[in-house]
């Protein structure tokens, strides 16, 4: 049997459909890598999660308001802010504020008469995981209803840098603020200035660029790129009378597109998800057709069936040999890409990236081969077989997003909402063509949307863990294969 498996592996590796697709992928790599090499990379803000924590006091106590957001300023649900407040009477009050589906959260603390809050410490955990962000704040004497920024990930103040949604290499500004006594802000305007100031002491708040009014608790503004000869970026908020109410200061480089060193993995991962996840399943469909499906449907397989081999042995041998051949093709493709990046950017792909890419594509290949072999036992003609196989591939690879959109809509989730995101990710578990994307979600801790852009996620909260990925892979391999072997051994 070893000879026969080796022959079938060789037959797989030399099949025209496989050779053509491997050549296409390698040629696209050669063509695309130079372009990506010279492209500007995002500053990194796009993949970060952040939160702004505001506070005001009144006769009723202390009021806290949080807004957690992703790198594009969109609300993040499930961010947990743990607050620990030490009071003047020696008591300690703790609570957790969890953001809702729009990213907002709030808390109200009432202290006994004559008791005041002295110090607050906090820790913030984001859905995407990672170490919590911690900090502390000492309460100052403040006028009733006056709003203070207690915590902001990027620095003091209510203004945070975010990635521009249409160009992630550019940085915009997000303002999280509330009016007196927690009211929706009204009559406030935002301004900024790039300069060479070492502090805000000498800044003339009456000057600067006017970004416009705050339109609610959360407002984003497009900001021009900071000139190369500037060192600082100052943002400030004025009230309806022009008085300063808050400000934030950042290095000017925060608002300047930064070209970062390009390494092989980032180059390849930026296009493999599209190219490989399209071509590798297609290759599996075509090779399965030529190396088993056609033999089965046209009766060529009978010349093997009459040999001293069990039906199960023949089915297993043909399956293993084709999957091995396709895995060898994937390895060959990755090796060619690795060699290309080594030559062009003098950097090799990371071992983790190769392992995860090869592993997840191997699972997709095994699943598609099983589905095609199963289909070969369900249809009678070559046209039905290749047509059915390509149709399955097209639905799973191209129209799946439309299906999940429709399901989200039926469930009442708006496009882009947390609910719709959960539906999309859950649906990926049921699509073998998206297994590679699922592994990518786990690895990057972000969900790549169907039409570009990505959303930071905590993979575990969506059920994407090493255990669930292994189980999903095992089921995608085992179910089509078992059904195929059943039909191959029990039916003509």
């Amino acid at each position: 049997m070893t000879n026969t498996v080796a022959y079938d592996v060789r037959r797989t590796l030399t099949s025209k459909s496989l050779l053509v697709i491997v050549a296409i992928v390698i040629l696209i790599s050669l063509a695309v890598i130079p372009f990506i090499r010279s492209a500007t990379s995002p500053s990194g803000i796009a993949s970060q999660s952040a939160e702004t924590l505001l506070e005001y006091q009144d006769s009723g106590g202390y009021h806290f308001f949080v807004y957690a957001f992703n790198g594009y300023g969109d609300g993040l649900s499930g961010a947990i802010t743990h607050i620990r407040i030490s009071a003047s009477n020696g008591e300690v009050y703790t609570t957790n504020i969890t953001t809702n589906s729009t990213g907002f959260g709030s808390y109200h603390l009432t202290l006994p008469t004559g008791v005041s809050a002295k110090k607050l410490s906090y820790s913030i955990r984001y859905p995407s995981g990672g170490l919590p962000k911690i900090g502390s704040y000492s309460f100052l004497a403040q006028a009733p209803g006056e709003v203070y920024t207690i915590a902001s990930d990027f620095g003091a103040g209510p203004v945070s840098p975010i990635a521009d949604k249409s160009n992630s290499t550019k940085t915009d500004a997000l303002v999280v603020y509330e009016g007196p006594y927690g009211a929706e802000p009204s009559g406030y305007s935002v301004h900024y200035e790039f300069g060479n100031l070492s502090s805000t002491a000498s800044l003339n708040f009456s000057e600067g660029v006017d970004l416009g009014p705050l339109s609610g608790f959360v407002t984003s503004f497009k900001v021009a790129s900071a000139p190369n000869n500037t060192q600082s970026a100052i943002f400030w908020i004025t009230n309806s009378t022009g008085g300063l109410v808050a400000y934030s200061a950042y290095p000017a480089s925060t608002f300047r597109p930064v070209k970062v060193a390009v390494e092989a993995t980032s180059i390849v991962s930026s296009f493999t998800s599209g190219i490989l996840s399209f071509f590798i399943p297609l290759m599996a469909v075509l090779v399965s057709y030529t190396n088993y499906g056609k033999d089965r449907v046209t009766g060529t397989i009978e010349s093997i069936l009459t040999r001293p081999v069990t039906r199960r042995g023949l089915a297993f041998g043909r399956y293993v040999s084709v999957v091995l051949g396709l895995c060898a093709a994937i390895a060959l493709t990755l090796a060619a890409i690795d060699l290309t990046t080594k030559i062009m950017v003098n950097s090799l792909l990371s071992g983790t990236f190769i392992f995860e890419t090869f592993g997840s594509l191997a699972v997709e290949v095994a699943g598609f081969v099983g589905i095609m072999y199963l289909l070969a036992h369900l249809v009678k003609g070559t046209g039905a077989l290749i047509g059915g196989g390509v149709m399955i591939f097209v639905v799973l690879d191209f129209f799946w997003s439309l299906i999940t959109f429709a399901v989200s809509d039926l469930l009442g989730y708006a496009s882009g909402s947390a609910g719709a995101l959960r539906v999309s990710i859950t649906a990926d578990f049921f699509n073998i063509a998206h297994f590679y994307a699922l592994v990518g979600d786990y690895q990057s801790k972000s969900y790549a949307g169907a039409f570009g852009g990505s959303t930071a996620i905590n993979p575990a909260s969506y059920g994407i863990t090493p255990v669930t990925l292994v189980i999903t892979a095992a089921l995608w391999i085992a179910i089509p294969f078992t059904a195929f072997v059943y039909l191959a051994t029990r039916r003509d």
Partner: protein
């Protein structure tokens, strides 16, 4: 030895049986002809016996090994040459031979040598590197035969192998089967060329409408070709039949009697019947060959 026991094959739930409770055997050192009209069930019986399709019920034993339960042993002892060998047509003969040799546990250098030997044995020397799509029908059959010979099986299933062959090809396979018989191998030969079947077979199994309706023994085959009479008697009755039994071995089909092994000349039989008051509208002397016997047989079967 090939034993077919109560073999039934039904292709679909609402389909009639393609083979219905077939029973026969092919002993070692015997060539058994397998005849029947198109769609009678010959190829289904052979394909089931070859392990290519699964029986609905019943069994096929090859040297005592069940073709389903003990397929590896059964197929090792069996060679199948179909009417239209269906191999991977883009493969080169030698490559495919070596690949198929893997299923017989023969590989490497030994596999290469063995493949070349077998191709030479069946007359394909010089065509080893040609693709099978460029082989003629006869060459494909020889190739199929060569593949079977990897295990030197003691049993062969030949399904219409003489169809589409040139005279040299027919002669080759005829000689081959005679040699196989000499080597005490069991051969089941299905063919439409009844004269060929008659000339080479030790026994003939007739299948009609999915059922085995007759098994002609060596002795019965020996009687074919002997003189017999076809007599049509308008007022045929038992008394006339008693008379005919006295002058031969009659078999009745309507008003017509086939009288084999006649002990009297046709004129004497005719005058005897007329004297007894019977109206004889036809009395023809015939030499019954397998073909005529076959059509008479299935005509009878049709009438049942």
């Amino acid at each position: 030895m090939i034993v077919v026991k109560n073999l039934t094959k039904i292709y679909g739930k609402h389909q009639p049986a393609a083979v219905d409770s077939a029973n026969f055997e092919v002993k070692n050192g015997e060539i058994v002809g397998f005849v029947g009209l198109n769609g009678a069930g010959k190829t289904t019986t052979i394909r089931t016996s070859a392990g290519v399709i699964l029986p609905t019920s019943g069994t096929v034993l090859v040297d005592g090994h069940d073709i389903v339960q003990d397929k590896v042993a059964a197929c090792s002892a069996l060679g199948w040459v179909p009417e239209f060998p269906n191999f991977e047509m883009n493969a080169k003969a030698l490559s495919l031979m070596k690949y198929l040799g893997g299923y017989y546990g023969i590989g490497g250098k030994e596999g290469d040598e063995k493949a070349r030997q077998l191709l030479e044995l069946v007359g394909l020397k010089g065509f080893e590197r040609r693709k099978l799509r460029d082989y003629s029908q006869g060459m494909k059959k020889r190739f199929a035969l060569a593949v079977c010979m990897y295990s030197d099986p003691a049993n062969y299933l030949f399904d219409e192998i003489l169809n589409g062959l040139d005279p040299e090809g027919v002669s080759y396979f005829r000689s081959l089967m005679v040699e196989m018989r000499r080597q005490k191998k069991a051969v089941l030969l299905s063919s439409h060329i009844l004269a060929e079947v008659e000339s080479i077979s030790d026994r003939v199994v007739v299948i009609h409408k999915s059922k085995i309706i007759k098994e002609l023994t060596k002795e019965e085959l020996g009687h074919l070709g002997e003189e017999s009479y076809r007599i049509t008697v308008d007022n045929l009755d038992s008394k006339a039949l008693d008379y005919l039994k006295g002058v031969g071995e009659p078999s009745v089909e309507g008003k017509t009697v086939h009288l084999t092994k006649p002990s009297a000349p046709s004129a004497e039989i005719n005058s005897g019947l007329v004297r007894m008051g019977y109206s004889v509208s036809e009395l023809t002397r015939v030499n019954v060959q397998l073909e005529e016997y076959f059509f008479r047989l299935i005509g009878g079967a049709n009438g049942k």
